[in-house]
């Protein structure tokens, strides 16, 4: 980064830099001192641990870093994505091991009645007992319970919208007292929505046809014969 005279007028105060502070956290039962405010996954690295299972995109999108945590003196165990959550003093946490939820196997295109087929593929889905544990477990704050019911009632469109944020962390499955894996049910419903209940985009089909029929052939021929200068000119004309 550039070295220049620091213009003190435009330096952002950062409490953590002004007064660096170490906090005490408990990782899988052991106590460590780590800098306040770093992410949970960085705290693991800071304590010298290699993380392989438990790290993925590091950007809050893949759900690999699902973690249980508790804050000081609070009995409530919460969930978070370790790459997106800052540590605080007195926090205890452990990464969540993979959970062997059952994924149904289906051929999406060949399903005749996807809303009915849901009950064959995921017979446990309608047995939801409304405990809301899945919703509480979701680090993406999706109303998971509501989603399961919407899927059961065939409102696949809403399910697909609600679960667009789902990072597949799987945290909603181990807590379910009815052995439902809500994110998998939702994924099924979303895909079915796309394959069976969404309009066919005519303009796209039209374009595919045009290309197949060689509509652009003369233009390609002209273009691919151009020398670099001519191509540059063609590019410069783009509006």
């Amino acid at each position: 980064m550039a070295t220049q005279d620091i213009n003190t007028q435009s330096v952002i105060d950062q409490e953590e830099v002004l007064h660096p502070k170490m906090v005490t956290v408990e990782i899988a039962g052991k106590t460590y001192q780590v800098p306040e405010g770093i992410t949970v996954i960085k705290a693991l690295w800071y304590t010298g641990q290699e993380v392989i299972r438990g790290a993925g995109c590091l950007g809050g999108f893949c759900g690999a870093c699902a973690t249980y945590y508790r804050t000081k003196d609070d009995p409530k165990v919460r969930t978070c994505l370790a790459c997106q959550t800052a540590v605080q003093d007195g926090m205890s946490f452990s990464m969540v091991p993979p959970f062997p939820a059952r994924k149904a196997v289906y051929n999406m295109a060949e399903l005749q009645d996807p809303k009915q087929d849901l009950f064959n593929l995921y017979p446990e889905a309608p047995l939801c007992r409304n405990c809301n544990a899945c919703t509480e477990a979701c680090p993406q704050t999706i109303d998971v319970r509501e989603g399961v019911w919407r899927a059961v009632f065939g409102d696949f469109k809403t399910v697909s919208e609600m679960f667009m944020d789902c990072v597949m962390c799987g945290l909603c499955a181990p807590v379910c007292i009815a052995d439902i894996a809500p994110s998998l049910v939702a994924l099924y419903a979303s895909r079915a929505q796309g394959v069976h209940f969404t309009e066919k985009p005519e303009r796209l089909y039209q374009r595919i046809k045009e290309i197949e029929e060689g509509r652009y052939k003369t233009e390609w021929d002209r273009l691919l014969k151009m020398n670099e200068q001519q191509l540059k000119e063609a590019c410069a004309e783009l509006k």
């Binding site: 435009s10 330096v11 405010g37 667009m164 595919i208 290309i211 590019c235």
Partner: protein
């Protein structure tokens, strides 16, 4: 100073800035700007590669060391295969899943090995969208020219033509699998305009395009029962003794054992390189983006292309600390968000190509118009509240839920306050040279996705990577599957490695670097 005080200038100058139109740079100005400020032109960061097919060519030091590094494989490794397959796909991101599905659909036996979980990748993070020319005002020709212009005319024309022409059909493939692209009221696919493109042609799934595609492809890979080895990283390719590829050695990351795979064809889909932290840059890439495919392919004798050019995405987060390097979606600029320096001025047309925008941000910061953080970082403002002003309250929440969430975790409301950004290492423009079927110069070795090179020239255009993955993942998968029907397994040897080690010794390459590196060494040493 308190961050809110510093942000005031952005609020104060907003109305004036809204009346401004900034022209894009003329080609000559662009060139001067880039040569002066783009990290690709920082000579001290580069050195020539010492040996191999690209000997003498210049690349960044981090990559040169990786390419010359030594394999973890002992010369006398027992090469009895644990698996035999028609097609071995290495990498479980977008390119790998597309390749596996297409090869499987052709009836080939497919083994997909990946370093992390299936789908933990760069693909899952793509927010901006995928470029496909579908509207009446647009055409594959326009898409071709835009890409060429963005790539500084250095793109491989044949690869590029194939990509833009097959775009619409791979979009249909994704729709048929259930990917929910955003729609217009009439049911057609909604298109947005991306940086460096003359026409709106980005298909999106709100700001979760990559996640939506990846969820669906992963589900389909599981439905098709493609054989899967997660947490198994490829560390070396195998050669048949006559220069062709015949399999790979994986390392099972749970028990650290080597696993030998005999494969008629191998598809490397190992993605990018951000976690090498080239020139000390933070990165937007996933944990496993360490350029493994480049290192393995190079040892095997594959030719690399344009590995001296990288994309630094203009908007990497600088504040708060927890988000450093993370991507702030380009969508904000596509929808009219301004870049603003410490004096409250705009300084570039925000929709210019990434290299131009990044270079101009670096220029502002080097010339003292940046905003500093106490931890020693610097950046410029991205005026996110402007979108709410222009398009109404709630716009950000509706169009950019992922980004709103990303900042909300740190109590920052992007609808009210601008965010601080600086370029972040984002994409490897070059890679392994391939032909139109995604095959490298090493027979039966295919390379698809970000690990391959040539298509994007010296600067990839926004949204073209997801398209690349789908088109070349497909071509690699189909070609490999069809080829494997008419051939038998080759011998399994480490002949190429013996040759490589001899060369390395001759050139005095230091062997203290193990390559591929698989993961960055973040765990703190005592």
């Amino acid at each position: 100073m308190e961050i809110h005080q510093l942000q005031q200038i952005v609020h104060k100058t907003r109305d004036f800035r809204r009346t401004q139109t900034l022209p894009k740079y003329q080609p000559a100005e662009r060139d001067t700007l880039i040569k002066k400020y783009h990290p690709d032109f920082r000579e001290s960061a580069y050195r020539p590669i010492k040996f191999g097919l690209n000997e003498g060519e210049s690349t960044v030091r981090e990559l040169a060391a990786l390419l010359e590094g030594d394999s973890p494989i002992p010369a006398d490794l027992d090469l009895t295969p644990a698996y035999q397959t028609d097609v071995l796909v290495v990498g479980g991101g977008g390119a790998g899943c597309a390749a596996a599905l297409h090869a499987h659909a052709q009836g080939a036996t497919v083994l997909l090995a990946t370093k992390l979980r299936l789908a933990d990748s760069n693909t899952v993070m793509a927010q901006g969208g995928i470029q496909v020319a579908i509207t009446n005002e647009d055409s594959p020709i326009q898409h071709f020219l835009d890409t060429l212009k963005g790539g500084h005319m250095k793109n491989d024309h044949r690869l590029l033509k194939v990509m833009v022409e097959e775009g619409p059909s791979v979009a249909k493939w994704l729709l048929d699998l259930g990917v929910l692209f955003d729609r217009d009221a009439d049911g057609n696919l909604h298109v947005k305009k991306g940086g460096g493109s003359s026409k709106p042609r980005l298909l999106t799934c709100s700001d979760y395009t990559g996640l939506e595609i990846m969820r669906v492809l992963k589900d389909e890979v599981l439905n098709q029962k493609v054989q899967l080895l997660e947490f198994c990283a490829a560390v070396e390719l195998l050669s048949d003794g006559h220069g062709a590829c015949s399999g790979a050695v994986l390392r099972d990351l749970d028990n650290k054992r080597f696993v030998v795979v005999a494969a008629k064809t191998v598809i490397l889909a190992t993605g990018g390189i951000g976690r090498l932290h080239i020139q000390g840059f933070p990165t937007s890439n996933h944990y496993g983006a360490t350029g493994d495919g480049l290192a393995m392919a190079y040892r095997m004798g594959a030719k690399l292309l344009q590995v001296d050019t990288f994309q630094y995405h203009p908007s990497g987060a600088v504040y708060p600390e927890q988000l450093i390097g993370a991507l702030v979606t380009e969508g904000i600029r596509s929808e009219g968000g301004h870049l603003v320096n410490a004096k409250g001025e705009r300084f570039v047309n925000e929709l210019d190509t990434r290299d131009v925008v990044s270079s101009s941000i670096i220029r502002e910061c080097e010339e003292g118009r940046g905003i500093r953080t106490m931890s020693g970082r610097i950046g410029v403002w991205l005026d996110t509240p402007l979108l709410e002003v222009e398009q109404g309250p709630g716009t950000l929440e509706r169009h950019f839920p992922a980004m709103v969430r990303q900042y909300k975790r740190y109590a920052i409301d992007i609808a009210k306050d601008p965010v601080l950004i600086y370029p972040t290492l984002h994409y490897q423009n070059g890679g392994v040279q391939i032909d139109v079927n995604s095959e490298s110069n090493v027979k039966n070795l295919f390379v698809a996705g970000e690990a391959s090179g040539g298509l994007h020239g010296r600067n990839r255009l926004m949204g073209n990577s997801l398209l690349d993955l789908m088109v070349y993942g497909k071509r690699a998968g189909l070609t490999a599957a069809v080829r494997s029907k008419t051939m038998s397994h080759g011998a399994l040897t480490l002949e190429h490695l013996t040759r490589f080690r001899t060369e390395a010794r001759k050139h005095g390459a230091s062997s203290d670097m193990t390559s591929p590196m698989l993961f960055p060494a973040y765990a703190k040493k005592e």
